[in-house]
């Protein structure tokens, strides 16, 4: 487009830059280095460069497909020394582009996603979010399917896959596992996914609410992977039904562990075992598996991560009259993505900061209230966040009839052989470059390595693993 033509006014831009402190950017590159998309699409996407372009001439950026490649994981914001909210700057630009009908760049971006990002359908829904710029998702998903067909046809023509015959076992069918399967099977390896649940998809199916990811989208994606020749064996729990030794014996040359985080952490307060106190993951799972789920009228969600937000929004959609999130630190420290918080607040979820539960009060086994205490923030701790300390004497009682606990999830790794080393927080330690665990031939990725994170980060891990597995198998072959 014409560079002279001004679409974004100087005032708009200044407001944007000032609000988000763009003037403080030193171009240290930390945003790019922590961005999953910048790794998946290194040639095409670099948030730092994009930001710089906006700074220099925002109008030029509107015509760029780069604008549509941010996956909303907020990893850049979390790492940025100036706490710049890049995704929100990009959203502002996307909206401007949509308003002016500049859709050509989006087409280009989708093409790049289809060609380079595994699970393009799912990621477009839960990560790239063209809907937030006011676009219709159904049309876009049709477009993606068409593009993928074309692309595969073209690719088939280009190269003939040489089947090496080696087999890879994948434990867990979440986004990380599906990515490894997708990539490895395209490289010509035999892939089997072992899934403990009856449905494949991991967190995608289990916990991401349907209003974020419609079921048919996930089904399509999984069908597609199956069509690539991947075998998915559901209801098989490694550690119970078979173990690592069996896998080696069956001829699998490499194993990928992508079991995610499913163990809800326990809240150490009185009353946590009451029947109206549920864990967020269980709650979301129940809702997602179409079981009839009753919610209270006045629901309290405890926690501050994305899961807490999802649970709160789901509760509202199920008809709860009042949903309040209690978080023990302030908005600054909240691990949920700022945009998700904004959306939840928009949907009517109330968030109370600097409040921690002390005791759940019951009446005949029914929850009727939670005793809370107000917190204040003291100095920074090792997580870089300010530590909350209770304010003595600030206890108060908040009435509620249902409590959803979302205070963090941890992996359940009892099935692993002893040789695999873990980190202090219970996740699997891997070589950050090769994603190999301390046991040769065993790789890991996704939440089971990083702790609770986003879909795109799991996919990034999966892609890294697929490459490492290939290198590893080649080295085995000599």
């Amino acid at each position: 487009m014409d560079a002279e033509e001004t679409i974004i006014s100087k005032e708009d831009l200044e407001r944007l830059l000032d609000v988000d402190k763009l003037k403080y950017c030193n171009e240290c590159g930390i945003c790019t280095a922590s961005c999953a998309i910048a790794e998946l699409l290194e040639e095409d996407y670099n948030p730092r460069r994009l930001l710089e372009k906006i700074f220099l001439n925002p109008n030029n950026v509107l015509a760029s497909d780069e604008l549509w490649l941010c996956a909303w994981c907020y990893s850049c914001y979390r790492h940025c020394p100036q706490a710049l909210k890049l995704p929100e700057i990009f959203l502002f630009m996307r909206k401007s582009a949509t308003e002016h009908g500049l859709m050509q760049p989006l087409e280009k971006a989708l093409k790049k996603i289809v060609e380079n990002v595994p699970l393009p359908l799912v990621t477009t829904f839960v990560c790239f979010h063209p809907d937030r710029a006011g676009l219709e998702m159904e049309k876009i998903s049709e477009k993606i399917e068409r593009m993928r067909e074309e692309y595969l046809k073209k690719e088939k023509r280009k190269r003939t896959v040489k089947t090496s015959g080696e087999k890879i076992a994948i434990i867990g069918s979440g986004p990380a596992g599906l990515t490894v399967a997708y990539e490895s099977s395209r490289k010509g390896y035999g892939v089997t996914i072992f899934e403990a649940l009856s449905e494949p998809g991991g967190m995608l199916g289990k916990c991401i609410p349907k209003y974020r990811l419609p079921k048919h989208v996930l089904t399509k994606e999984i069908e597609f992977i199956k069509n690539l020749g991947v075998e998915i064996r559901t209801s098989v729990k490694v550690g119970k039904d078979l173990d690592f030794k069996d896998l080696w014996k069956k001829g699998y040359k490499a194993i990928f562990v992508g079991t995610g985080v499913h163990k809800s952490q326990k809240l150490k307060i009185e009353g946590r075992d009451l029947k109206d106190v549920v864990h967020a993951l269980d709650f979301l799972w129940k809702v997602n598996s179409d079981k009839k789920t009753e919610v209270g009228r006045n629901v309290v969600v405890i926690g501050g991560g994305n899961v807490a937000i999802d649970a709160a929004e789901t509760a509202i959609r199920l008809g709860a009259e009042e949903v309040t999130i209690l978080y023990r630190r302030s908005k600054e420290e909240m691990p949920a993505n700022p945009w998700e918080i904004k959306e939840a607040e928009h949907e009517g979820v109330k968030i109370e900061f600097l409040v921690a539960p002390k005791k759940i009060l019951e009446d005949n086994g029914n929850v009727y209230a939670v005793e809370c205490v107000r917190m204040q923030l003291s100095e920074l701790d090792e997580t870089g966040r300010r530590k909350p300390i209770p304010i003595v004497g600030s206890e108060f009682i908040r009435e509620t009839d249902m409590i959803i606990l979302a205070i963090g999830e941890a992996p359940d790794l009892e099935f692993l052989p002893k040789e695999i080393e873990l980190n202090e927080n219970g996740t699997i330690w891997v070589n950050p470059i090769t994603m190999e665990t301390s046991l040769r031939g065993v790789f890991a990725g996704g939440d089971v390595v990083t702790g609770p994170a986003t879909v795109i980060e799991a996919i990034r891990d999966g892609k890294r693993v697929a490459e490492s597995v290939e290198n590893y198998l080649k080295s085995l072959a000599g």
Binding site: K21, E27, A33, E39, H79, P81, Q82, A83, E382
Partner: protein, 812 residues
């Protein structure tokens, strides 16, 4: 307004002849104020016999014009409308004196910081405001009285707080000049941060080798009294006449100690040595480092077993041949009489364990630059062998990460810490010197090599093969088995992601204000800038003076700086303190209270509010007595007196009321009458000007020394004259430059609020603001915020307030 009003003879029949000078200040003022018009307007004001505008009133030429006008035109009052009186009042006062006019017959109108600079884009409004400011000054100056200043003798002794290189240099300079110096250091030894560093940049001198002789000079200088293990706990008095209390904590080892180390060898208690940042150990009886001054050992009572007066373990006592160990030592309170104070408390280093991505504290081989200094130092825990903590091996690949805790808005500091770039370059060369094969990577955002010889050193490092990579790592990951590290980031010049494998990573940590600077600030009633360092009186013209008279800054207390700058500043501070003391006396500004005994009812209220106990009540004579030398000049007594029996010289009720009347003469319903204390709020408004923070032009500032001077009747008068909003602004509670005088401000404003509420007035129309000298933005945004209040104040409201407060219109 255009008609010349008739001059009325005042002040005992003397004819008032005012000269007004409107300064262009180049384009600084003239750029947004029509100075010519202001001068023309000034000429129409009562008693003004002459009004001129000129380019630079403060220039020699400008001053000469003023002087000859005073002589030839027989001016007996002068107004200069230019910059802040905090900058040039003394210049013009001196010019007046030289022309034979008493300097207290001069007044300034601040049309630069408070007008042209903050209303850059509204020439018309800025000009109107400038006129008002001149009118206020003219109204005040007509009522000014000549005054003589009291001279007070000065103590020719200096207290230097902090025994780092800055404190050492300042002490030596003053002591060599011939003044007595008390050097107070809270650690057992002087030396500070410089004693811990291995080499200094850019010359690569051995740090302790050049510092140790200075430390020893301090110890042996006949004019220096060294107080280590000591802390200043109280400072009273005023410039030239401070009284300080120093708490000298016991060492439990007497001066007989010969530093033979026999005691340390037998001491069974070990703990990490703070001097070596915990990389080495020390005993409960110890000396922090070999060259410590004084060399006398110290027993750390937090560690020693002999608590509560009971000697449990007597190993050191038995080992000490010279019987220098004395557990009966008690803390001592030392009282000092001093004339000047030099603050050289230095800086702290940033603690990077709050940055989870860098894994400091979790990954063994991630160390800070300070830890590196101790590792590479021959006197350090590894004897100068650069080893990595995990396996004691010499690392082959070392990464330096710059800007850790600096230039960040999150978990760190916004400013550049000034020394880290060069420090890293120096460190990289030190490695290259001993282990030339080592691969060194420096991850940076900008290399700031601005000083003399710095660029050469940078080039040398590049020549030696140190690799500089632009782009900071987003995270540092550790290999569990080898404890090697991966640095993951973007090379922002190549626009490529890197994954660098190294043996050790050094985090180049920034400098922070001392964690106890708040205490020091309160103790000495200083100001701090937003970054937390102490604020100088003027960044260009008085860079080492504190705003409080008789106090000076040296070294990192004022801002992060390297050794050379610290030493330079220390010598400057010593010179400034020396100048003050050489005069032998200080003049106390003639702003002390004036009493009218005939009105005094001997109620004693003034004695209660005086922060200096300078007013006493003689119950028998039913009279008050004012001790002028003890008076700090806040004027809170004058504000408190319900009978008008007290007023403050140079800030009399009449003068302030005249200013209020001048502001409210017309368009009062659109204006804000603001009372600002000289030290914080007025200076904060100046700061807003210097930084060109724009705010609406309808505020008129009346300067008082302290917000405690603002009597309720001033506020009432402003409302009675139809002012829309009144703002009272002072220092933050606890930061008052007159101990606690601003507590009374709060009480008075609260009383007024109550009265307004009871009378059905909108109490929001009286605003109270606490703003420090550094909080220009706070001041500016307050003025912006007040606009919404003004919008909702109806003419009826204004009228109602006029009625409620009409009593205040009576003459005084």
């Amino acid at each position: 307004m255009s008609e010349k009003q008739e001059s009325k003879p005042q002040n005992g029949g003397e004819e008032i002849r005012i000269g007004v000078y409107v300064c262009h200040c180049g384009l600084n003022i003239a750029g947004s104020v029509d100075c010519d018009e202001v001068a023309k307007f000034a000429a129409t004001l009562p008693n003004v016999v002459l009004a001129k505008d000129n380019r630079y009133t403060c220039s020699d030429q400008g001053q000469e014009i003023m002087k000859s006008d005073i002589r030839e035109q027989k001016l007996n009052r002068v107004v200069v409308a230019s910059c802040s009186p905090r900058l040039h009042e003394s210049t013009f006062r001196k010019a007046c004196e030289e022309a034979g006019l008493n300097k207290y017959l001069f007044e300034m109108a601040n049309i630069r910081e408070h007008c042209s600079w903050v209303h850059l884009h509204d020439r018309e409004a800025a000009t109107e405001k400038a006129k008002d400011l001149v009118k206020m000054a003219v109204a005040k100056v007509a009522l000014l009285q000549p005054a003589e200043e009291v001279e007070v003798p000065i103590n020719r002794k200096t207290l230097v707080i902090g025994g780092g290189v800055a404190g050492i240099q300042a002490s030596l300079d003053l002591a060599d000049t011939g003044y007595k110096v008390y050097l107070v250091e809270k650690e057992p030894s002087i030396g500070g941060m410089m004693a811990r560093i291995d080499k200094t940049f850019p010359t690569m001198d051995c740090s302790i080798c050049i510092l140790a002789p200075k430390m020893s000079d301090v110890l042996h200088h006949p004019n220096i009294e060294l107080l280590t293990n000591s802390e200043v706990v109280e400072v009273k008095g005023y410039v030239g006449n401070f009284q300080a209390k120093v708490l000298k904590k016991p060492r439990y080892v007497t001066k007989d100690c010969s530093a033979c180390n026999d005691c340390t060898e037998v001491c069974p208690i070990i703990a990490p040595n703070e001097f070596d940042v915990g990389l080495d150990i020390r005993h409960a009886i110890y000396t922090p480092f070999a060259q410590a001054v004084p060399s006398t050992y110290t027993i750390d009572m937090n560690l020693c077993l002999n608590k509560d007066n009971v000697i449990v373990c007597d190993k050191c006592i038995k080992a000490c041949e010279r019987q220098a160990i004395n557990f009966e030592m008690k803390p001592e309170n030392v009282e000092l009489e001093i004339g000047t104070i030099i603050v050289a408390i230095g800086a702290d280093v940033f603690d990077p364990s709050v940055l989870p991505n860098y894994g400091y504290g979790r990954h063994t081989n991630v160390i800070t630059s300070l830890e590196f200094e101790r590792l590479i130092n021959a006197g350090g825990p590894s004897g100068g062998h650069l080893i990595r903590p995990s396996d004691m091996q010499v690392p082959k690949r070392v990464a330096f990460v710059q800007c850790v805790g600096s230039r960040t808005d999150r978990n760190g500091r916004l400013y550049c810490s000034n020394v880290c770039c060069m420090n890293t370059i120096k460190d990289s060369l030190l490695i290259k010197e001993h282990w030339p094969e080592t691969e060194i990577y420096v991850f940076y955002v900008d290399i700031r090599a601005h000083g003399k010889g710095f660029e050469d050193l940078y080039k040398r490092a590049r020549k030696e093969g140190v690799k500089f990579i632009r782009g900071l790592p987003a995270k540092i990951l550790e290999d569990k088995k080898t404890h090697n590290l991966w640095l993951i980031g973007e090379n922002t010049l190549q626009k490529e992601l890197y994954k660098m494998n190294v043996d050790m990573a050094v985090l180049s940590i920034g400098l922070e204000p001392r964690r106890n600077s708040e205490i020091v600030q309160r103790l000495l009633t200083l100001s701090r800038t937003q970054d937390g360092f102490f604020m100088e009186a003027h960044p260009k013209l008085r860079p080492v003076d504190a705003a409080t008279g008789g106090m000076f800054f040296a070294g990192c207390a004022e801002a992060p700086k390297d050794i050379k700058d610290s030493v330079t500043q220390a010598s400057a501070a010593a010179a400034r303190a020396g100048i003050l003391m050489a005069k032998g006396k200080v003049t106390v500004e003639a702003i002390t209270p004036i009493s009218y005994p005939e009105k005094c009812k001997a109620c004693g209220l003034c004695t209660k509010v005086c922060p200096y106990n300078a007013i006493t009540l003689d119950k028998e004579l039913q009279q008050i007595k004012i001790v002028e030398a003890a008076c700090g000049g806040c004027g809170t007594c004058a504000a408190e007196c319900p009978f008008g029996a007290l007023t403050q010289s140079h800030f009399t009720d009449e003068q302030i009321l005249a200013q209020i009347d001048a502001v409210t003469e017309y368009d009062s319903e659109k204006k804000i009458v603001a009372f600002c204390c000289n030290w914080c709020a007025y200076a904060g408004a100046d700061f807003a000007g210097v930084n060109r923070m724009q705010y609406p032009p309808n505020v008129r500032i009346i300067r008082t020394m302290c917000s405690g001077r603002v009597a309720p009747k001033f506020v009432e008068r402003a409302f009675a004259r139809g002012a829309s909003v009144v703002l009272v602004a002072g220092c933050h509670p606890g930061d008052c430059h007159y101990i606690n005088a601003n507590n009374h401000t709060k009480d008075r404003v609260e009383r007024l609020w109550k009265k307004m509420e009871q009378s059905g007035l909108d109490k929001e129309r009286l605003q109270l603001l606490w703003a420090s000298a550094a909080e220009g933005e706070r001041f500016a945004s307050k003025i912006r915020e007040i606009q919404t209040i003004i919008k909702r104040v109806t003419p009826e409201e204004i009228h109602k307030a006029k009625r409620v407060f009409e009593k205040a219109l009576e003459g005084v």
